[in-house]
Structure formats: structure tokens, C-alpha cells
């Protein structure tokens, strides 16, 4: 089922005449994992900010569930329809992990009523991503990068959004934590029917994708074509991708 759609989306920064994204058209279905890949500065994160409603495209339109984002309240859209996992986590560092989740529930006007019920739901959600109660009661400031990333994931899920957007979700994680985070994201798409869109440089992340969207200099490149683009992967990039695929098989 089509969940998100980009129709001829173009974007340039204020005061600039150069387009960062040029006429991008793509559709995203529920129940699938998408990875958006491309070299640094290609426009991947800009694409995510447009999809997540943090920014508005200059030309073209983004549709969520058939509705144009320009006509929706973007605050409500961010609070209720999409869950964003930021590369830099973007959590309230002076608050506890569990508070970050309950606050997100409150902002999204969650159906869970009562402070205690919300807190219990937040603990359950954190537990689902591997954060125990003791850790959940600690301030973000005192959590490791991996723990913060998990809290970020839990927060993105706190309002049960249809679309999960992740910007380099494993960029700061060790191999073991990366693997766990990827399992969580895959499960969200394949078991819970969410549309998961991940911006990444990591080939390990690309390996879990159902579909790959390549961006090169603001233009969309079909996934497989992109895999063959050695300019992105570096001299041995293609070989590395092949190895991952072989290992999966």
C-alpha cells in the first residue's frame, strides 16, 4: 500500500539558485525498508527533512496517505504520522529516557490516558528496543551513544507512526549494536507494517533494504544502477557490496 509519494520534488536553500534536489519522484509502500544512499552532500538528508515535514519543497509535492503535505498541519504531521530517528539523536539531554518518550506521547496527543499508563507504555517501548527500567530512568546525558540511539528509536515509535524515517541510525554504533538496531527496523517494517526509510552510507544498512534509492548530485538513480556506481562506493565499493550480498545468501 502506497504510504508516501514524492512528485517532482525540487529543493534549493534560501538565497541559493542551485538545486540540492531536482525533480525527484518516488513512492514508498508500507511494510518495506527503503534505504536512501548517495555521496555526502548529494541531498539525502534534505530529502529526509522534506519527507519528515521539517522542511517544505520549493517545487513539487510530498503526499502522505494521498494528502498533500502543504495542506496538512506540519506540526501535527510530525507529531502523529512520522517518527524520525536523527543521526545526532536529538533527545532532551537533561531529561530521562522515559520522559523523552512520554513527552513525545503527550505532544502527539496519544490515546494512552493518564501519566502512569503513559510511563508504563514508555517503559515497555524502551524495553522493546533493549533499554531496561534502570537505564530508562537515567538522564540521556548519562547514556552511551548506542543507548541514546535506542531511545531515539523508541521515541520515533512512541506515537505509533506509519512512517519511520532514520538518518544514519547506525552511524555512531558498534557492529553489535548496529546489528540489533537494524533488526528492530526490519521488524518494524516486515512485522508491524511500517514504512521505514533510512538514509545511510553504511552498506550493512543497505543490505537490509527492500528497495534502494540512490541520489547523485540531487538526482534520483535507480537502486541497482546505484550499486554499480563505483564513484560512490570508492575503488573497492562494488566488491564490498558483493561480499555483503554473498554473506547474506
Amino acid at each position: 500500500m502506497k504510504c508516501l509519494e514524492l512528485a517532482d520534488v525540487s529543493y534549493r536553500y534560501e538565497g541559493s539558485t542551485e538545486y540540492v534536489l531536482k525533480n525527484i519522484s518516488a513512492a514508498f509502500d508500507s511494510g518495506k525498508v527503503y534505504t536512501v544512499v548517495g555521496e555526502s552532500g548529494a541531498g539525502k538528508s534534505t530529502l529526509l527533512s522534506l519527507i519528515s515535514g521539517l522542511d517544505v519543497c520549493k517545487e513539487g509535492d510530498v503526499y502522505y496517505d494521498g494528502k498533500n503535505l502543504r495542506e496538512l498541519d506540519r506540526d501535527d504531521y510530525r507529531a502523529k504520522c512520522v517518527g524520525v530517528i536523527f543521526q545526532g539523536y536529538n533527545l532532551l539531554i537533561n531529561s530521562t529516557a522515559v520522559y523523552n518518550i512520554t513527552l513525545s506521547m503527550n505532544i502527539s496527543e496519544s490515546e494512552i490516558m493518564g501519566r502512569r499508563a503513559k510511563k508504563e507504555a514508555a517503559f515497555a517501548l524502551l524495553n522493546k528496543v533493549g533499554i531496561d527500567r534502570e537505564t530508562a530512568d537515567r538522564k540521556i546525558l548519562y547514556l552511551s551513544g548506542g543507548e541514546q540511539q535506542r531511545v531515539g528509536i523508541a521515541r520515533a515509535l512512541s506515537h505509533n507512526p506509519d512512517v519511520i524515517i532514520a538518518d544514519e541510525p547506525t552511524g555512531n554504533l558498534d557492529a553489535e549494536t548496529e546489528s540489533e538496531v537494524l533488526k528492530i527496523l526490519t521488524r518494524l517494517a516486515h512485522e508491524d507494517g511500517k514504512c521505514v526509510i533510512i538514509v545511510t552510507h553504511s552498506e550493512n544498512v543497505t543490505a537490509i533494504a527492500d528497495e534502494i534509492i540512490g541520489i547523485h548530485a540531487g538526482n534520483l538513480i535507480a537502486g541497482e544502477k546505484y550499486r554499480e556506481n563505483s564513484a560512490f562506493h570508492g575503488e573497492n565499493g562494488h566488491e564490498r557490496t558483493k561480499t555483503i550480498r554473498e554473506n547474506e545468501q
Binding site: 521539517l54 531529561s95 496527543e109
Partner: protein, 289 residues
């Protein structure tokens, strides 16, 4: 609807505890501004009240005195003095006789209202007041008593205006610094979908709580300090020893100070709202990342 917004207040309360250092500094500044406002307002209001009382007292106390102390002035008889006292402009038919030297006397009457002076003067003249007498209030006595109080009132008013201007400037500065410092937090909350007005409301609740606490503390501190400051100011203004003026924080003053405190909180709120309105979450987060 009520429950859906309650978290904004809850979050504001939690933030007060989280940012103790900054809130304490902000509190100290607000406390200083409100305390000086309490002192200035208390002195000003008391001065105004005393001046008003003096005006009523001296303005109501009307004297019939010889224009000069000449020997050939006809005397005012007791019957005449009594006749003058039977006036609708006077509080009662009371007349006091005061010797003013060389056998001359001053007749003192008490008007219902200082505004009736002209009417009373005409009435007395119509009743046959001999030439050479004047009907007037004790201007010299009034000036002697009121001038220092006018000086005190003017000083406190100037001080109050300076404090209010400085207070507003400080609040604007503090709000800008506070919002800038919390830019990241604002960016995160906005990225989570919190609406600008709710965010602004949260910041306003925080500043309102800090201001309310400062308001209570300032009332106590200001009440204690204003008497000694007033005494010191009066001592400088009066050449002769005089009775000390009892400075008090009246309910009217409390209300005015409350208004000033709310003005400061509103200034802070408006600044926060205007800053937040300009912030775009994506820019804040991009800057930080």
C-alpha cells in the same frame, strides 16, 4: 482539551528544576528589579498620600489675617468672627483665634473642601470683612511641609521610571539569552511536533513562576528596606528636624507591583514568542549537528 495541554505546564515545572543555575540567575535579576520597584513605589505612593493629606489639611485650614500689622486696622469682633463661621462651606461653626503678635489675631476656619476657598472668601467679604484683612490658606506652612515630600515623590518617581526601563531591558536581554541557550531544546521539541504556541506557553509559565516567587520575596525585602531608604532621603531633603514619614506597602502598592511583575513576565513572554516564531527546527538541528 485541558488534559492535552497540561503536559506543557508539567514540562515547564520540570524545566525549572533542570535549569537551576540559569533560573537562579534570572530570579536574582528579577528579584533585584522588583525589589527596587517595591522601594520606589512604596516611597512614591506614601509621598503622594502624605502630600494629599497635607493638601487637604492646609487647603482646608483657611485663615483670616491682617495684610500688614498696622495699628489702625479695625478689629474683627467676636460676633463678626462667629458670623463668618456660619457658612455652608465650613465643616462646622468652629473658629480658632491665634495671636500673631502686636495684639493682632488670626482667625482659623476649616473648609469642607479646599476648592471652596474662593466662595468662602466672597461670602466673608459680603458679610462685611473689614478692609486690610486677607482670607487665604497658610502657604508658607504648606510649602514647608509639602516641598520635601514633593522632592521625595519626584526622586522616587524618577527612580521608578529608571527601574522600570532598566527592568524591561534586563528582561528582554534575559529572555533573548534564555531562548538562545535553549535553542537546541526548542529545536528538538519543534521537531517532535510541539506547536509554537505551546512551546511559548511553556516558556511563559516558567518565567511566570520565577517572577511570582521573586514578587513575594521582593515584597518582603522591599517592605523592610523602603523605610530606611525613605528616612535617608528625607534627611537629605529637609533642613530642619521633622517627624519621620511612615512608609508602608499598601494593598494598592502590592497591586501595582504585581502589575509591574506581570509586565516583566509579559515582556519576557513576548520576546520568547517572537524568537520562537522565527526559529525553524530543521535549521536549529542542522546547526547543532
Amino acid at each position: 482539551m485541558k488534559n492535552k495541554n497540561f503536559y506543557v505546564i508539567e514540562n515547564a515545572l520540570l524545566n525549572l528544576g533542570k535549569n537551576k543555575g540559569r533560573n537562579f540567575l534570572q530570579g536574582v535579576m528579577i528579584f533585584a528589579v522588583i525589589t527596587t520597584t517595591v522601594i520606589a513605589l512604596s516611597i512614591h505612593n506614601t509621598s503622594v498620600a502624605i502630600i494629599g493629606e497635607y493638601k487637604t489639611r492646609f487647603g482646608s485650614e483657611v485663615n483670616i489675617v491682617p495684610e500688614t500689622l498696622a495699628d489702625n486696622l479695625p478689629d474683627i469682633t467676636a460676633e463678626q468672627a462667629l458670623l463668618y463661621s456660619q457658612s455652608e462651606y465650613l465643616r462646622d461653626a468652629q473658629v480658632d483665634e491665634v495671636k500673631i503678635g502686636s495684639g493682632a489675631i488670626k482667625l482659623v476656619y476649616y473648609l469642607k473642601s479646599p476648592e471652596s476657598l474662593d466662595a468662602f472668601r466672597t461670602e466673608v467679604q459680603d458679610k462685611g470683612l473689614p478692609a486690610g484683612y486677607i482670607v487665604d490658606i497658610d502657604k508658607a506652612g504648606y510649602d514647608r511641609m509639602v516641598m520635601p515630600m514633593e522632592g521625595l515623590k519626584d526622586i522616587s518617581l524618577t527612580f521608578l521610571l529608571i527601574v522600570l526601563a532598566l527592568g524591561c531591558a534586563i528582561m528582554i536581554l534575559l529572555s533573548i539569552i534564555s531562548v538562545r541557550e535553549r535553542k537546541y531544546e526548542i529545536g528538538v521539541l519543534r521537531a517532535m511536533g510541539m506547536k509554537k504556541q505551546k512551546l511559548a506557553m511553556g516558556l511563559w509559565v516558567e518565567i511566570l513562576i520565577i517572577t511570582s516567587v521573586c514578587f513575594i520575596l521582593s515584597l518582603i525585602a522591599g517592605g523592610l528596606l523602603s523605610q530606611s531608604i525613605s528616612d535617608a532621603l528625607l534627611a537629605g531633603l529637609m533642613n530642619t528636624a521633622t517627624e519621620p514619614v511612615d512608609i508602608s506597602v499598601s494593598p494598592q502598592t502590592v497591586l501595582q507591583i504585581f502589575g509591574v511583575a506581570m509586565l516583566f513576565a509579559s515582556v519576557a513572554g513576548i520576546i520568547s514568542v517572537s524568537k520562537i516564531t522565527k526559529y525553524e527546527p530543521i535549521k536549529i538541528l542542522m546547526e547543532r549537528n
